[in-house]
Amino acid sequence: MSERSAPGRGSGAPHPDAGLEAATKNEVQHLPSDSPVRFVTPDGELAPRAERNGYEFPSEKLLLSAYRAMVVGRRFNTEATALTKMGRLAVYPSSRGQEACQVGGVVVLDERDWLFPTYRDTVALISRGIDPVEALGLLRGDWHCGYDPMATRTAPQCTPLATHMPHAVGLAYAARRRGEDLVAMVYVGDGGTSEGDFHEALNFAAVFNAPVVFLVQNNRYAISVPLSRQSAAPSLAHKGVGYGIRSEQVDGNDAVAVVSVLSDAVAFARTGRGPVLVEAHTYRMDAHTNADPVGRYRDASEAEEWIERDPMTRLEAYLSAAGVLTDSDIKAANDAAEDFATGMRPQLNANPEVHPLEIFDYVFAEPTPQLREQRSQLEAELAQEA
């Protein structure tokens, strides 16, 4: 296990293989640890200290709030998947198994910070306090984004891969120019790391020293394409190194490690020391979406293995053993999650109200003459139908 240290986390011994002095400094600063940072074993026991790679233990308070949000997130994933079967959602890309990442990236943020999520990150949205019905707007088909990004400091969920990443960099850079010390947290998947915009965003972030934390949720599949076909790099975290970005890899199913590494990354970025890339090793337990025949490209046995590394049971076991979480706490968390799910059900079972003429309202600040004509046409059609 590596004892290497990243800057801002105490002193680190130079890499023994390093040649030139400058190169040594650079490598020590930017290379991720040899294996994912881990605090808690899959059985919920404390992992050897060396596996923490110098990171600090998160506060109990933070871990408890992460736990509660994960319980809600797990329940939400189940509920949303059920809603697709009832025809209430057009599609749902589940994040079951990735709850530690979904929640971990959000609990380390302040209200002033921005979140840039993808289509799979609805659990991150609700963890940020966004109304679940609004969070499901995109997937339900009400509108392309159901919440107000400015009010929630949460960018619209991005469907194309990695194209939201340069937005986060530009926003974070601009905020710093305005004297605000906010951080932008960007979620992206393993597939997204192959896209050009991933690389352009990393490069811009490094060159402009933008306070951005890139969280790569490596869930091992881009729809059906496995990681081995996605990248030949030693880890996805290594992709940050070439851009001069401090990079780290973490066990994405160990919520304690995720929260610790991301807290550290946010603090690092906030204090103006530059962007951070974190690769979280996790697993998408469900199919890509409800419409995806997952059995065609991976064995059920593989998923079984990962169920043993379930982030929920792992955190619960650890917190219970540590005496932080009692049985009644667990019951309370599950009850709250159940309330959350049942609370959103009637709203999602109702047919959403759609205002046909609204499709013309936000193309431009003021509609063009051509749009006015087309709006009148639809208005007349609607009047005839009525």
């Binding site: 509108w143 392309h144 984004c145 107000d148 990004p149 400015m150 009010a151 960018a155 619209p156 194309p160 194209t163 939201h164 990443m165 340069p166 937005h167 986060a168 960099v169 530009g170 926003l171 974070a172 850079y173 601009a174 905020a175 120019r177 305005r178 932008a184 050009g196 915009d197 352009e200 965003a201 490069n203 811009f204 060159v207 609204e358 309202d361 936000y362 193309v363 431009f364 600040a365 063009t368 003459p369 051509q370």
Partner: protein, 329 residues
């Protein structure tokens, strides 16, 4: 003192930056060098590197970065250096820049200007002469603007920077060095208003950007045949001024649309369709198009064969006359 279109564009950015501290200019080589066409010359010196700066060489990154800056209240004016170099940014423009207002029900808007030097006639090598306006005009949510005069270059760019919506600002490279005695600042008609550059009663020539001077030259040459040709400069493709087009063609009864871009599925096709929808009973002849050929923009030694010039426009005019003669015969 005469001023060139490039200088007018430069003055527009300078004045906009002076008027509004949120206006920032960035892209490749726009800072220290002042742009490969000197359009951003002196801005970095005058306003500092925070206001006019060079970026990594990555067009998608530039456009996406501008989205984020615009979300924080800046007004980015980004340069794409050459027409075909903007294609890597196409996804950002099509998927995000154009749609973010709509996607967020108006909560987020990105007032930004994407400056694209475009078109041929300057002896450029491959990827330096495309006319890509149809690609952008086809995307709902983008305004598309192209000046043909020095005065419009200044005025339209100022308006583009002030506009609450993203504007693709197509700068005709070939016209960068055309000069005018205009004194800056100057304000011309706003977006969505075409300009009748030359009045006439026999035929309407519709042009924009690079083809406006050529159309005017053709109209002048046609006076030898006793023809009185009107030239309409669209100025903005989105929004489009249907009223001026319809008014002109209704009066003349004949129309030729002139674009430098290849014609297939282009702006010319859109214009012809709109004219026949709106002016059918006023037309004395089919509406014709004079465009570039449907080939990749050719190497410099061939480009004079590609570009629609005065002769090709006059040939089309002759065809209209022929239609008319056959009818009256």
């Amino acid at each position: 003192m005469a001023i060139s279109m490039a200088q007018a564009l430069n003055a527009a950015m300078r004045d906009a930056m002076q008027a509004d501290s949120s206006v920032v200019v960035f892209g490749e080589d726009v800072g220290t060098l002042g742009g490969v066409f000197t359009v951003t010359a002196g801005l970095a010196e005058e306003f500092g590197e925070d206001r006019c700066f060079d970026t990594p060489l990555a067009e998608s990154g530039i456009a996406g970065f501008a989205v984020g800056m615009a979300m924080q209240g800046f007004r980015p004016v980004i340069e794409m250096q050459f027409d075909a170099f903007a294609y890597p940014a196409f996804e950002q423009l099509a998927s995000h820049v154009a749609k973010i207002r709509n996607r967020t029900r108006g909560a987020v808007h990105v007032p930004m200007v994407i400056r694209i030097p475009y078109g041929g006639g300057i002896g450029g090598v491959e990827h330096h002469s495309d006319s890509s306006e149809s690609h952008y005009a086809h995307i709902p949510g983008l305004k598309v603007v192209t000046p043909a005069t020095v005065e419009d270059a200044y005025s339209l760019l100022r308006e583009a920077i002030d506009d609450p919506d993203p504007v693709v600002f197509m700068e005709p490279k070939k016209l960068y060095w055309t000069k005018s005695e205009a004194s800056m600042p100057v304000r011309t008609a706003g977006f969505g208003q075409a300009s009748i550059r030359r009045t006439g009663s026999d035929i309407t020539l519709i042009a924009y950007g690079t083809t406006v001077p050529t159309a005017l030259e053709a109209a002048e040459a046609a006076t030898e045949q006793g023809l009185d040709i009107e030239v309409v400069d669209l100025r903005t493709l989105v929004p489009l001024d249907d009223a001026t087009i319809v008014g002109s063609v209704t009066r003349t009864g004949r129309c030729v649309v002139v674009t430098e871009a290849n014609g297939f599925a282009g702006i010319g096709a859109e214009l012809v369709a709109r004219i026949q929808e709106r002016c059918f009973y006023s037309l004395d002849a089919p509406v014709l198009r004079v465009t570039g050929f449907d080939v990749p923009y050719p190497p410099p030694l061939y480009e004079h064969h590609y570009l629609p010039g005065v002769d090709r426009i006059l040939d089309a005019v002759d065809r209209l006359e022929w239609e008319d003669q056959s009818k009256s015969a």
